[in-house]
Every structure is written in structure tokens, then in C-alpha cells.
Amino acid sequence: MALGIEASHVGGAMPRSEELIRAFRRVAEGREPYSSVLVLAKSEASKLIEMQRRLGLTYLVEGQLLWHDILRPFTELLEGVKTGPLTRWFDNNLFYKKPIIVSNILRTTSILEKYVFTDLLSGVNWKLILPEPYTFYRLSANQSYSRWEDLVLDFAGILVEELKTLAGTGPALLQLSAPCLAEKKLDTDQVETVKESLRIVKNGYNGLLMVHLFFYDASNAFPWILDSPADVIGIDPFVTAPELIRGYSFERSLAIGCVDARNSHVESVEEIGYLFNSFAECVEARAYHLTTNTDLEYLPRHVADAKIERLAEAYRILGGGLS
């Protein structure tokens, strides 16, 4: 089985090493300049890329080590957004700073180039993770837009502008993290706005577009997500009931997050294979990706590294990658 595994990659936000955590704390306390963190983070990003390359993963991540949370670059650098209170990140013991939308959002400076080590990614098939526009809206406090749809579409436009700044060294795979699309079933108007926002991103970006539905049962976004412009649909098999997506067939790829980024148990290849097959047998996709269910930042760094190694091993043994 497992024919058609065309790619393997991991969730993009990696845990920081304890040394990097300490460096960030020194910066926060004003004891060191931010440049010291940049040097250290870049060195760690470089090693991370090299590790994934050695292991044969298809799309490599640079770890997004400078991002305190996935929304933060936009929270801090978009005009019209203020940094709000610490807020729980879904059902995790992890918190993000809520963006407060105080006026229509505007991009007045390049954002991603300050957060991504693009110079390490030249010639690399790399993966970038960004917030899906509807999820961004849901995780924000909107005090300005009279129509929430406009915020979603404006944010999609901003993502496109940002991706253009990366042009030459842009990501081959863009993952839009979209738990809010799976949290519950959306109504028709919401779905249409989400699709429109995804169309804006897809039209402005040349690589593969993945919408990753994690933390919640992905079936909540079926079947409409199959009509969206996403090239790859990601699911979290640890919270998705396979019977609810059984029988779907589509001309897109299905990314199955068979490695649990929220628990330290390092899955065996057999466990990964069993889980992969139990979902791949349910859904007939054009092809499959083997991935993590979410970002690996929920783990201590050495555990995350062990999970990447095991994912790569499973990818080889299950018939993808180098074999």
C-alpha cells in the first residue's frame, strides 16, 4: 500500500533549543541586543535545514525560530493592528498575543523578510507556514471592519504581497494553517469567503498551496474544502474520524499528519504506517503527503528532532522519497 506518497515534510514552527530560549530571554530583559538572537537562530536554522536534507524530506523548513507565534509578524508589523493580550492557542498550554484590529489593515513594510532566513533557502525546496486568512480573523479582535469578510480578504491580499517579496527564493510549498476551518462546520457565506480568500492567495503564488486542518476533525470542512483552490489538504488523524471522510475522491493531494507533534511518544514506523494506511484507504486522493499533525514547537527540541528522523524513516520505508 502507500503508493503515491509524493512528499514528506514537517510542521514549520520548530522548538527553540534551550540555548536559544535563554538568548531570547536575555533580549527580553534588555541584557543583549536582538542581533545576538539572530546569529544563534540562523545557525540553528541552518543545521535544521541540513538535517532535513540529509534525511531526504521533500520540502524543508527553516524552523520559523524567530516567530513567537504564527500571527506575531503580522500583529507587530501590519498597520491597523495592535498587540493584544495573551490568549490560549486553541486547546494547548501555549499562548499567543491576540491581534487587535483597530483600523483597516495595511502593509507598509516587508514583513516576512524580517522573520525568515531566506538567504539559507536559496535553491532549496522549502515550506513556509502562514495563518490562513479566516483563521487569522477568528483569532483576532476585530474593532474596525464592519464586514468581517473584508478583513479576511484584505489579509489574503497581504499574504500575496508578502509572498511576492520572497519571489526568487519563495517557498515551493505554502501551508496555510487553518484550525478554524475545521473547528466546526461553516455556513455557506463563510465558506464562500474562505474560498475567495484562498483563490486570492493561489492566484498570487506560484507554488503548491496546502490548507492544513489540524486540532479538529477535518471532516467539518468536507466536502467544500475539496472545491477550494488548495492543492494539498492536510488533516490531523489524531482528532479526525476516518469514517466521516470515507469515500471521498479528489484530484488533490492529501497530507496526513501521522506524527503527533503534541506528544513525546516517538511513533514507530509501524505506527506511522498503520495510521497512514487507515486514512489513505478511506480517501482516494491524487497523491499523499506524509507529515506531522501540526508544528513541532510543542515538544522539547531533541524530541522534535527524533520525530523528524522517524518521519523520514517512515517515508523511505513506506515507499516515498529516496527508496
Binding site: 511518544h265 522539547p300 527540541r301
Partner: protein, 370 residues
């Protein structure tokens, strides 16, 4: 019974002589606090620090005494030692448990992390530092004591599971098997770890215990599990129990919390409230309407002191918050005056002044109603 009794919520920043390099400024600070708080024989400690003639255990005992005196000097009715002998609420609890391995730092936000453990086998209490900690406090306290303990749901929710999910289970979907694993993990921590500690404390004379469950609402579909586990640890125990839950969506507690066999629920409100005076509108205490609507039978301890800011709430603000809370809740006799959470992130001078004003504010609120 006294209206608006005052109490702390557990932690306090480490005493100066525990947290710093011991130079002359630390010794002066130790002397200052010893004198101000009326710590008996503090000169002995100062002398020992000067001569560098002390053990770590001695310093911890002194820290515990200083913290008790700080709470007492502020005038609180119910006190504790500020958790001076503990690492932090999670690691301290699990360091005493067999079957647990600490794996390393994980992010909570920005550069803030905690040392996260994995449950590797059935957890069992291997050590119990809570009893000597309580005995020391009991020997020295002049006010009633309340012992804080971390609850089983939070211990489970903040840990990795490498044991329960790996146990063979023949039935159910992956989702159901994981749910069952989580339930076993929570109940083992309740029965094998937290309940034995409670029983040993009560046997040694503890009659007020606070169960800290900040993770209670993390997973909305598991709030009922948190309550079940709480009821398991307090079953048949003769003591007054407080549940403390902070920085949470309290709407998720309902209806499950109605089944909790608790005497008090301590929640954070001041952090969400304005600092202007007034008793008519206070956004931080809106949530109390929900508790009234559900006719809860426990007392409520809404935080009237924000522990995340150095702003010293004037007594009049504490008064207004308490009177407003009493009005919303509908029963002043079941409102307790306390902080949002432990004061471990505030310096001692800030913490002390906040607690002094907590007591003053409660006093004028009391006078207003009486």
C-alpha cells in the same frame, strides 16, 4: 462569619536571600524585611548570611518564615508560605513522583517555557515534601493556613503521555482510545499522587487545601473529567477545599462545576477589569452573573488584585470591586477577597503593598455593608 475574609493564592517571589547572589545589598534587604515584618530572630539569619554560615535547607526555612510573616503583617486572614520551598507548581509536584521523566523545556509563550515531563509508567508518589513543609508552616503561622497543591487534571494536561497511549487497547477508534488513555492518566494522578498527599496533610492537621487547576478549561470536552478527578481526590476528606482556576474561559466550567465538591472557587477577574473607581459597571466581574444564574453553592473568590502589574490597587478600588462582585453574585457572605493568582512575578515590596491594600479594601467594603 466575617464578610469578605482575605486570603492569598499561593506563590510569592522567592525571598531575597534565596534568589540572588548574597552580597551586602541582599543582606540589607533581608534585614529590612525582617524588621518590617516582625520576623522573630531575623538578626540570626542576617548574621549567618554575613558569615556565610548556612545551609540551603536553613535558608529555605527562613524564606518560608519570612513569607508567612509577610502575609500576616499585611493582615490576611488565611496565609501560606508563598511556596518558598517549591520549584514551581508543576515541576515540584512531579519531581516527587515515580514513573515520570522530565524531557526539557517547551514554550508557553514567547521566551517563557516550562520543563515538561512525560508519564512513562503508572505514576506513584515516591516522596512527600508537602508534610514537612506544612509542619514547618504550622509551627510558625499565627493565622489559619491554606496549602496549595496542583490538581490531577493540570498535572496530566501539562504532561506528555508515553504510557497510557501505548497500552494495548482492543476496542474503539483512535480518538476513543486516546480519550480513555487520558482519563486513566488523570485518575491515576488523582488516586496515586494527589489524594495521598491530601490525606497525609489532613492527617497532620491541614484543614484548608487549595487545588490549583489552571488547565481545567483547556480542552472544553474534558471539563467534566477535571471535576470528576477533583471529586475523587477530596472524597470523604474532612477539610475545606478551594479550587483555583486562572486565566481561563470560565463559561466552559458550566454545567460541570456545579458537581464539584468544593467549598470555594478562586478565579481571576482583576486582570480583565478597569482600574477606575465605581461599583456600577465592572467588566472584570461580568462572569459572576453566570455563577449566580446557576445558583452555585460554593463561595466565590474573585480576584480583586491583578498579579501581572506593579500597579498598587488603592483600597477604594478593592472595595468597589468587592461590593460590585457581591452585588452581581447576590450573596456578600460568600465572597472572599483575594488576588487573581499567586504573586510570584511581583517583587516583595509590590506584593506586600498589594496585600496590605487588599486587606484595607476588604475592611472598608465590610464597613460599607455592615
Amino acid at each position: 462569619m466575617k464578610l469578605f475574609p482575605t486570603q492569598e493564592v499561593g506563590s510569592l517571589m522567592r525571598a531575597p536571600f534565596l534568589r540572588k547572589q548574597l552580597d551586602e545589598s541582599v543582606i540589607s534587604e533581608t534585614e529590612y524585611w525582617g524588621r518590617l515584618l516582625g520576623v522573630e530572630r531575623y538578626e540570626v539569619l542576617v548574621d549567618k548570611l554575613r558569615r556565610e554560615d548556612y545551609t540551603v535547607e536553613e535558608l529555605r526555612n527562613w524564606a518560608s518564615l519570612y513569607a508567612i510573616r509577610l502575609h500576616e503583617a499585611a493582615g490576611l486572614d488565611v496565609v501560606w508560605d508563598g511556596e518558598q520551598k517549591r520549584i514551581e507548581m508543576y515541576e515540584h509536584a512531579l519531581r516527587q513522583v515515580k514513573g515520570v521523566e522530565f524531557l526539557g523545556k517547551v514554550k508557553v509563550w514567547d521566551a517563557e517555557t516550562y520543563n515538561k515531563a512525560a508519564i512513562k509508567s503508572k505514576p506513584q508518589l515516591a516522596e512527600n515534601t508537602y508534610v514537612p513543609e506544612f509542619q514547618f508552616a504550622k509551627r510558625h503561622a499565627r493565622r489559619e493556613l491554606k496549602v496549595p497543591l496542583t490538581g490531577p487534571y493540570t498535572l496530566a494536561e501539562w504532561s506528555f503521555d508515553e504510557y497510557y497511549i501505548s497500552r494495548p487497547r482492543t476496542t474503539g477508534s483512535l480518538i476513543e482510545r486516546r480519550r480513555e488513555a487520558k482519563r486513566e492518566m488523570v485518575f491515576d494522578l488523582a488516586r496515586e499522587v494527589v489524594r495521598p498527599v491530601i490525606l497525609s496533610l489532613v492527617e497532620n492537621g491541614a484543614n484548608r487545601i487549595q487545588i490549583d487547576e489552571p488547565a481545567a478549561t483547556t480542552k472544553p470536552d474534558e471539563v467534566g473529567l477535571f471535576v470528576e478527578a477533583f471529586n475523587e481526590i477530596v472524597k470523604g476528606v474532612n477539610a475545606r477545599f478551594t479550587i483555583h482556576i486562572c486565566y481561563s474561559d470560565y463559561t466552559l466550567l458550566f454545567p460541570y462545576i456545579l458537581e464539584a465538591k468544593a467549598h470555594e472557587l478562586s478565579i481571576e477577574c482583576a486582570n480583565k477589569d478597569a482600574v477606575s473607581l465605581g461599583q456600577d459597571e465592572r467588566r472584570g466581574y461580568e462572569i459572576l452573573k453566570l455563577f449566580r444564574e446557576h445558583s452555585v453553592d460554593f463561595a466565590l473568590a474573585p480576584g480583586v488584585i491583578d498579579v501581572h502589574t506593579d500597579f498598587i490597587e488603592p483600597p477604594e478600588l478593592v472595595r468597589d470591586r468587592l461590593l460590585h462582585a457581591a452585588k452581581i453574585f447576590g450573596d456578600p457572605s460568600r465572597i472572599i477577597a483575594c488576588n487573581d493568582c499567586g504573586l510570584r512575578t511581583r517583587k516583595w515590596d509590590v506584593a506586600y503593598r498589594k496585600e496590605v491594600n487588599l486587606v484595607r479594601g476588604a475592611s472598608i467594603a465590610r464597613e460599607t455593608l455592615e
